[in-house]
């Protein structure tokens, strides 16, 4: 996304309700800044994230997608984040093959206590995606305004 001629990557962050969404709230409570272009979507568990959602985001112009879940072993639903880890490692390598660089996608474990980690992760991830430039590969031109 270009803003005033400057590239600001659009990041979609899927956060699980129990750990990472609470972690994001904690970042807010502590006023830990991260870029405005990070937009959070709440899901009950990171394993709710269908690969389709990620493809859709890239198609619609997202520059990076990050999935945040509970730390391994801490999943509210016992094993959901393990599913996420497996599914996403497959999906990301396939996306990489398609030209969506591995750096544009990420799975990160953020607990409800890790507000600082959430903010730091978002800053770092945004920077990494910014370094890659705009996502062109999967962008659907018909969706362009």
């Amino acid at each position: 996304m270009q803003i005033n001629g400057e590239f600001k990557p659009l990041i979609v962050a899927f956060c699980c309700n129990w750990c990472s969404y609470a972690g994001a709230d904690l970042a807010g409570n502590n006023r830990l800044a991260y870029p405005e272009n990070v937009k959070i979507i709440k899901v009950p568990c990171s394993c709710r994230v269908n690969p389709m959602f990620i493809l859709r985001a890239f198609q619609r112009g997202a520059d990076g997608v990050i999935i945040c879940g509970c730390h391994p072993g801490d999943c509210h639903y016992t094993s959901g984040n393990y599913y996420t880890r497996r599914r996403m490692s497959l999906l990301f390598s396939m996306l990489n093959f398609l030209g969506i660089e591995k750096e544009r996608t990420r799975v990160e474990w953020v607990s409800a206590a890790e507000g600082a980690k959430f903010a730091a992760t978002m800053n770092e991830f945004t920077e990494a995606v910014a370094a890659l430039g705009e996502n062109k590969r999967l962008e659907d031109l018909r969706c362009k305004r």
Binding site: D25, I41, M52, Y83
Partner: protein, 664 residues
């Protein structure tokens, strides 16, 4: 088309300081479906809630979006507000423009822009929301406790005390478990029987508690509040209702050479037996593996001496079906086998024993009537070596021991050493330890007393080899403080064997769809905050089946599990979470992918009849979700290849709509 109202909160200056709330309300006015949009200083205040209620009625709203703080803060508040105005509470969406916008951004322009986008995403979602009603299910007001040790007994007593009926299922002929075998209990040294047997009697006499002894759970169906359980009552060849527990048969039975498991095989019992004097129920049991009558049809002595006519050689296993609202697992632990640790010569010498065997040797009701005599020659041992951590803290756990610390060994070894020195000051007692772990109330003081007052020799090091030679045990060990290898001629060696969950736990976990860790301990729903609940709703954990525990901890957990059960049984109906998975049967292709990923066993498959477009009837295998069991994680929705499985409240099209709104 929905009729949506948008309510933008200022949160004083918390939001309004970084976000132009009026601009947000104005911008969202033109989104599809929005018929009303406003802003207010404090939406969560009574006045703010009134604005929402009035707008719902006035504009006949079918859904609302509140742009405010995190839903973790006030989602419930606004759902109640909506409900009060006649709107389904699940038609409310919160757009988090405080924690995730105004508080983390400083630029007014960019903050406002982001708030508008977040608002749009919420509106896009509400457009696709449908009213949801939580499912209701009745609660059977009866609890099942599996395992009749101190954990199970305490849980059952506490539940019964609250007025609910409880059944205890115990595989042994009596309740009491491991604690009944112990002599004294640390750190206060009260006698185990003195504090346990009154509880056993209470359980036996309570009109709320039924004890199924010599029984096993053979099948579990159903879900929280509505479990259908089949209990197998093994044939004990004695009519429980007639047997008075007089014990005459156990004295007259001619088969005297049956290893007595209660004394860990250190003496013998008869083929018909009552495990110990205070057994509950105090009913005899015939051991079919040894009874001559049952094996060859010749004998019948017990039947002849029984004046109550309780002996019944024709008894068969009996299956009992019962309904329960809650299940408590209290299957306990066992010491591990010492077969893989024969450097300690457990299989070569009778005088190398485990700590539990030592308990029996010092117990007044044990094989030596409480005198400390070593098993080989019934002589009083003068040098005793205790070896700690036998099989605990092993990294090569797959082949040999256990990776975890068994937790109770340091304390019971200190107890054994202290009691030995107390009763027999002429004995030398050595304890080989890696670390002495005593984190518990009055625990370290207890251990120090063993060292300082009772003169127990604690040696930092490990035993490497034990060689029986003549009537001594040659113990070769290390003394790490002095960098020495030391050799002790011992009369008795006691091994602190690691403990492991009972073998019945694994098949039981499968029946209950309750999860276990790699060591076969039951997993708790949350390691800190829900320590007595299993992740499977309605299944609770009590005692060492969840992890190594001493008696105080076990009793505390037993009470905690009971309180959770009481909380469940006190409800007449269970309100489910309406945000659960559901399957579109017309799209389902019967592949079982969802069933396999479900952590709760909430998905079942069945054959159903469908009318096909050509008016024929076809039978197809389709998935259906048990809404009372589903917890709404959504793992199945991603596994489903046909898109039949979806999650209410977080549907595929709703999330896609949010993605679209954000990426536009």
């Amino acid at each position: 088309m929905q009729r949506i109202g948008v309510f933008v909160c200022w949160c004083g200056s918390n939001i309004a300081g970084t976000v132009d709330v009026k601009a947000v309300a104005e911008a969202l006015k033109n989104e599809p479906g929005v018929v009303f949009s406003t802003d207010y200083q404090y939406m969560c205040s009574q006045a703010g809630q009134d604005i929402i209620k009035n707008a719902i009625k006035e504009h006949n709203l079918s859904g609302i979006v509140v742009c405010s703080c995190s839903p973790r803060m006030h989602e419930q508040t606004f759902r109640k507000t909506a409900q009060a105005a006649g709107l389904n509470p699940y038609m409310v969406e919160i757009s988090n423009i405080r924690e995730q916008c105004s508080w983390v951004h400083k630029d007014m322009e960019k903050g406002t822009e982001k708030a508008i986008i977040l608002g749009k995403a919420a509106i896009a979602k509400v457009n696709l929301n449908a009213p949801l009603t939580p499912g209701e299910s009745p609660v059977t007001k009866r609890a099942l406790v599996i395992g009749g040790g101190i954990a199970g007994i305490q849980t059952a007593l506490d539940i019964a005390d609250a007025g609910f009926p409880v059944d205890i299922v115990e595989t042994k002929p009596t309740i009491g478990g491991k604690m009944a075998q112990l002599d004294k209990t640390f750190p206060t040294l009260d006698c185990a029987a003195c504090i346990l047997t009154p509880k056993m009697v209470d359980a036996g006499q309570s009109d709320k508690i039924r004890i199924f002894s010599y029984s096993e759970v053979s099948q579990v169906k159903g879900f929280v509040g509505n479990f259908d359980v089949t209990i197998k009552k093994k044939a004990r060849y004695v009519k429980e209702d007639l047997c008075t527990g007089c014990g005459l048969c156990t004295e007259k039975c001619p088969q005297k050479k049956v290893p007595n498991e209660f004394n860990l095989g250190m003496d013998n019992r008869r083929a018909i037996y009552i495990p110990f004097a205070q057994a509950v129920p105090k009913v005899a049991t015939i051991d079919a593996d040894y009874c001559t009558m049952l094996k060859s049809g010749k004998c019948g002595v017990c039947s002849k001496v029984c004046t109550a006519g309780a002996i019944d050689y024709t008894q068969k296993d009996e299956y009992i079906e019962e309904k329960y609202g809650a299940i408590v697992v209290a299957t306990g632990y066992n010491p591990i086998s010492m077969d893989k640790f024969d450097e300690y010569a457990y299989n070569q010498s009778k005088d190398v024993i485990t700590s539990l065997e030592f308990e029996r040797l010092t117990n007044a009701a044990g094989p030596t009537a409480g005198k400390l005599l070593r098993p080989s020659d019934n002589k009083h041992p003068h040098t005793i070596v205790f070896v700690q951590c036998v099989g605990s803290r092993c990294a090569n756990c797959a082949e040999k021991g256990k990776e975890y610390c068994s937790k109770i060994c340091c304390m019971y070894t200190a107890k054994h050493a202290m009691l030995t020195r107390d009763k027999y000051p002429d004995t030398d007692v050595y304890v080989f330890y890696i670390d002495v772990r005593t984190p518990g109330k009055s625990f370290d003081e207890f251990y120090r007393r063993a060292v300082e007052e009772y003169g127990v020799h604690y040696i930092k090091g490990m035993v490497g080899k034990i060689a029986p030679e003549g009537d001594v045990l040659k113990v070769q060990a290390s003394d790490l403080i002095n960098n020495k290898q030391i050799h002790i001629d011992a009369d008795l060696v006691v091994l602190a064997a690691a403990i492991e969950p009972d073998k019945s736990a694994r098949p039981l976990a499968t029946m209950l769809t309750a999860s276990m860790d790699t060591n076969d301990f039951f997993t708790e729903a949350h390691p800190k905050l829900r320590p007595v609940e299993s992740p499977t709703a309605g299944v609770f954990l009590s005692g060492a089946c969840q992890g190594p525990k001493d008696i105080p901890e076990t009793v505390a957990q037993a009470g905690a599990a009971a309180s959770k059960v009481i909380g469940l049984l006190a409800k007449d109906k269970l309100m489910g979470n309406p945000c659960v998975a559901h399957s579109n049967e017309l799209m389902c292709n019967g592949c079982s992918s969802c069933e396999r990923v479900c952590p709760y066993g909430a998905i079942t498959y069945s054959d159903k009849e469908f009318r096909m477009p050509d008016r024929t009837v076809a039978i197809r295998r389709v998935a259906s979700v048990n809404e009372a069991v589903c917890q709404g994680c959504g793992a199945c929705t991603v596994a489903c290849p046909s898109g039949a499985m979806d999650l209410k409240g977080f549907a595929n099209n709703q999330i896609v709509a949010e993605v679209d709104a954000i990426c536009k």
